[in-house]
């Protein structure tokens, strides 16, 4: 157990990064209330604090195999707002999993906000899995807001799998993602979002397929409940012989509102781009089927949403 962490901290870390008692295998950097609560580096992963602005530089050794790095951020002080810059340098041919994520516990009346700016430089043939979970809790009237920005540059033959999810409790989020794929590079982005109450979420995403053989896939699944609002702008741009697919599915409930505005842009006759978008309520026959299997209507609804966002 890390002594710099209390039970609220460890609970947050478990929610956002599956860390038990604040521990995780591989390299670790825990940012707590704008300070560093823990840092562990390994032979494959080096982590250094930035000297010109808040944030860290993460270096994954070229050729590293199955390197793992946890870099969660937690905010437990009401009224704390911060912008943090993290840069990732993934060496040629490296294989790594990076678990990020941010949890806010706000029991006060002031806004707590974390704006994370993440930039990935992924060298030739490297394979990266990037997981980011956002979560908010606390009974105070203070807002829990997050505005993540992610930019990634993929060199030839590199691969980035990005899984982002907003579990619950974030009042307002504006997410910006831009991924540029070089020749033969591939990215698969999965975004999961659930909003309720008066929450507001906006996601702007652009995947640029910049080299021959580049491939991009965006899978966006969202559920909007009560009076929450969601807006999605996923855009796939093809500048070469490439393949891109955008798929946005949303479930709308209660008095929520969702806008899903996918775009595909071809700047080459060889670009093959597809988008699909659907918004709808939970299908009645799905609820009935699960009820015939013995679930109540509420249990059936919960099970359908859980599966949809899994």
């Amino acid at each position: 157990m890390n002594e710099a962490l209390n039970s609220i901290d460890t609970a947050l870390l478990e929610q956002i990064a599956d860390m038990k008692g604040g521990q995780a295998p591989g390299a670790v950097n825990i940012r707590k209330d704008s300070g560093c609560a823990s840092r562990i580096t390994t032979d494959d992963v080096d982590i250094r604090s930035k000297t010109d602005k808040p944030g860290i530089d993460i270096f994954i050794r070229a050729g590293a195999r199955k390197a793992v790095c946890h870099i969660p951020v937690i905010i437990t002080r009401s009224g704390l707002t911060e912008t943090v810059y993290n840069d990732f340098y993934i060496g040629e041919g490296a294989e790594c999993t990076i678990i990020a994520g941010c949890g806010i516990h706000n029991c006060g009346e002031d806004e707590s906000r974390h704006d994370g700016v993440h930039t990935f430089h992924i060298e030739k043939g490297a394979r990266v899995t990037y997981v980011e979970k956002h979560y908010g809790e606390g009974d105070g009237g203070g807002k829990k807001n997050m505005n993540p920005q992610t930019v990634a540059y993929l060199a030839e033959g590199a691969f980035l799998k990005m899984d982002t999810s907003q579990i619950k409790g974030i009042d307002s989020t504006k997410r910006d993602t831009r991924i540029v794929c070089g020749p033969g590079a591939e990215t698969v982005v999965t975004e999961r979002l659930q909003t309720h109450g008066e929450q507001v979420a906006e996601s702007n995403m652009e995947i640029v397929l910049d080299g021959d053989g580049a491939r991009g896939r965006v899978i966006s699944r969202s559920v909007a409940q009560e009076r929450s609002r969601q807006v999605f702008y996923p855009k796939m741009t093809g500048n070469a012989k490439c393949f891109g697919h955008v798929q946005c599915d949303s479930i709308i409930m209660d008095d929520a509102r969702i806008s899903s505005i996918p775009a595909i842009v071809a700047n080459s006759t060889e670009a093959e781009l597809i988008h699909e978008a659907a918004i709808g309520k939970i299908a009645g026959d799905q609820l009935l089927k699960l009820q015939t299997l013995g679930l109540t209507r509420e249990e059936a609804e919960e099970r359908i949403l859980k599966g949809f966002l899994a």
Binding site: Q286, G307, F308
Partner: protein, 241 residues
């Protein structure tokens, strides 16, 4: 035992009432396999949905094992051991075949070997399907067989299957009739199957012909089926008359 007493179901639209089920009384003893057959639009599916609780009767009573279940909802009837296989089963984004079988079995986590046994009974190889989403990537026949596997997983006392053969290829159909036959041989469950298929009808203890919202004929398969085939119970076209 299942008992239907003067069951009626009407729909009123634009001040016009349409009687879908007019007055059906029916008793199905424990362990019996009853096939409901008859012309399209005759009321077979409506009757099955009334028993499951997917529709509410306008009048009449439904008794299951002596208890009046007419006022019970879908979930309550399911928990009393009534199950229903949809003619056109829904698809789910994000729910895997294994998940659906677990939900159906009522177990939090169905063992892989148990799920495998269920899928084998409907002619599917578990390794190929258990981790797949029950979504549009599956063919109509595959979804239909998974639907039947969910009914088998429930191990319920009353199994209602609406045209289980629809969309299923000949090879899988052979497996399915074997499965129904083996189930029926155990006599653990009462089975009501809506079907027009001769080989399913051949498994039945009794056949009931549902036409224009009433049961026009009921009797042993050996007795009723030849009459249906010969045209004695076919609905005549008024123009031809």
């Amino acid at each position: 035992m299942l008992e239907l007493r003067h069951l009626q179901y009407s729909v009123t639209e634009n001040a016009e009432t349409n009687d879908i089920i007019k007055d059906v009384s029916l008793t199905v003893p424990d362990g019996q396999l009853l096939v409901l057959t008859g012309p399209n639009g005759g009321g077979k599916t409506t009757l099955a949905k009334l028993i499951m609780g997917l529709l509410t009767p306008t009048a009449g009573q439904i008794l299951w094992n002596g208890a009046d279940v007419t006022a019970l909802d879908l979930t309550q009837r399911a928990r009393l051991g009534i199950s229903y296989g949809f003619q056109q089963p829904p698809r789910f984004k994000g729910i895997k075949v294994g998940d659906l079988l677990s939900i159906a079995s009522g177990k939090k986590l169905l063992r892989r070997t148990e799920a495998c046994a269920l899928l084998t009974q409907v002619g599917l190889c578990a390794a190929d399907y258990i981790d797949r989403d029950v979504d549009t990537s599956l063919s109509g026949g595959e979804v239909k067989r998974i639907e039947i596997a969910t009914i088998l997983a429930r191990e319920s006392g009353l199994m209602i299957l609406d045209e289980p053969e629809a969309g299923i290829d000949l090879w899988s159909f052979n497996k399915l009739t074997e499965t129904f036959s083996a189930l029926h041989a155990k006599r653990d469950a009462t089975m009501i199957i809506i079907s027009h298929q001769e080989r399913i009808i051949a498994l039945a203890d009794e056949i009931a012909v549902v036409d224009h919202g009433v049961i026009t004929r009921r009797g042993a398969a050996a007795e009723v089926y030849p009459a249906i085939v010969s045209g004695a119970y076919n609905t005549a076209c008024p123009a031809r008359q």
